[in-house]
Amino acid sequence: MKSITKQKPFEEIKQKLHGLNRVYILGCGTCATMTRTGGIEEVKAMKERLEGLEKTVTGWTVVPTACDEMTAVAMKENERPIRNAACILVMACALGIHRVGLYTNKPVIPALDTLFIGVEEKPGYFREVCAQCGQCVLGETAGICPLTACNKGLLNGPCGGTNEGKCEVDKEKDCAWTLIYQRLKLQGRLDLMRQYHPPKNHQVALRPKTIKLG
């Protein structure tokens, strides 16, 4: 699992830092490093750009995994430069930003937009394959999630917007239901596509989603 992020436009970061002239930067050694949005190189580059705006970067770190509790330890170790800053600019996904917010009362400013939880299909190419809906249908859809891979999240087959296996929203994008159809056909299981799927039960995963194990 990877949390896929993209750096916000610098203009937006600049705006969010308006009036906050002393900045501490925190990056993440896991997903954001892999997507080259919040690793050491990107954090250093951000430091330089902020200094170009006459901001003072009181310090920076790239914690191993921003979303886990060890972030508390890393922030404790960097207590002094963090204390000297007016805010923390976080170059991690929203899970990391949330975690950092638990350990400080200072404003926590996101430098990245979190796009999706995805897998790396080939180097540098990420795809969302699960929408974490709480009610998995992959057993009936040949392992391809129509809620995620179909723009409309259709459960009962393709819409009329598909053409030559592509999607109406983007001619480069595969139609999820054509893929499901092809794979089910190969498996001799097209009867699964003939089955009626009732409307999705959104109550199984009410927001905010929480769970207590055991």
């Binding site: 723009n151 087959g157 009329g160 929203v169 003939r194």
Partner: protein, 294 residues
């Protein structure tokens, strides 16, 4: 009581429906003019529901106007903009005002329209919406609660007979039939040979099929549809025919082609009727009917 449209479908006659596109804005004069022009000349008028995801005057409002002016409306209802509560509410409202034909559609993706930043709803899909209609007719809402007063509709759906690949569309077609669709208005067809093949398959099911006829207005429009509209394939010989008409005469030729296709469909009893889509040129529908000999 059966709707007039349903009576027409069951009468064995060659049924003709066409499409009314509501305006963007509250000036509905042109729409009312089109309704008045066509209301007694066709069996029913579909009113589109934010066609191509472009925000417009609502289908429900257009259908009410059709009804009030003595016509027979078909409420086009997409799943794009309303969740299951809103869809059910609109079905009840429509029924209470005498709108008793509904065409259940998934709806185009939001991003193909003019409100690209909007949230697409798709809480239900077209198959589920058809089943919702039938459940409400049985006096229950989608949560299983009893309705104080049920609905009753002649419910239909759409199918793409020329889609590639076709089989996934046929599977969905069958699911729509099982969900209770009584009639189908197809995506525009131009290749009558391949349409006849589709009809061989469709004839196994107890549903009425109205072939979609999209008026060709120019060579550019035909080429544009081939390149951009899924499920539409205008054959080269029709494009050549349009081109042969010469400057300023393409629309006339398009009317002739549409009329000829309708006449063939009727004469060869290929299907149960036609659904004419003269997108933006509703005033020439009568000319198409004349060209078809209807």
């Amino acid at each position: 009581m059966e709707s007039k449209f349903k009576q027409a479908l069951n009468s064995g006659k060659f049924v003709v429906t066409c499409e009314i596109g509501p305006p963007k804005g509250t000036n509905i004069e042109k729409m009312l003019h089109h309704i008045d022009l066509l209301k007694y000349r066709v069996d029913a008028l579909n009113v589109t529901d934010h066609q191509s995801s472009v925000m417009r005057f609502p289908s429900l409002g257009g259908c009410l106007a059709v009804k009030e002016r003595g016509g027979e409306p078909i409420l086009q209802m997409t799943c794009r903009d309303r969740n299951r509560l809103a869809l059910q509410a609109d079905l009840m409202f429509a029924y209470s005002r005498g709108i008793t034909n509904v065409l259940c559609l998934t709806g185009d993706a939001v991003v193909v329209g003019d409100h690209k930043e909007a949230k697409g709803v798709f809480d239900l899909d077209s198959v589920q919406l058809l089943r919702a209609v039938r459940q409400m007719e049985a006096g229950k809402d989608l949560a299983g609660n009893k309705l104080d007063g049920a609905v009753s509709f002649c419910a239909g759906a759409v199918v793409c007979p020329e889609a590639k690949p076709l089989e996934p569309q046929l599977i969905k077609f069958e699911k729509k039939v099982e969900a209770g669709a009584e009639f189908f208005q197809t995506q525009g067809v131009y290749d009558l040979e391949s349409f006849a093949k589709f009809m061989e398959h469709a004839r196994q099911f107890p549903v009425k099929i109205l072939a979609g006829i999209i008026l060709l207005t120019s060579v550019g429009m035909a080429k544009y549809m081939n390149a951009n509209i899924p499920g539409i394939f205008v054959p080269q010989h029709l494009i050549d025919e349009l081109a042969s008409a010469g400057k300023g005469r393409a629309l006339e030729k398009g009317i002739e082609i549409a009329g000829r296709m309708i006449a063939t469909l009727k004469k060869e009893k290929l299907c149960d009727g036609v659904h004419i889509m003269a997108i933006g040129k509703e005033e020439v529908v009568l000319d198409i009917l004349a060209a078809a000999g209807i």
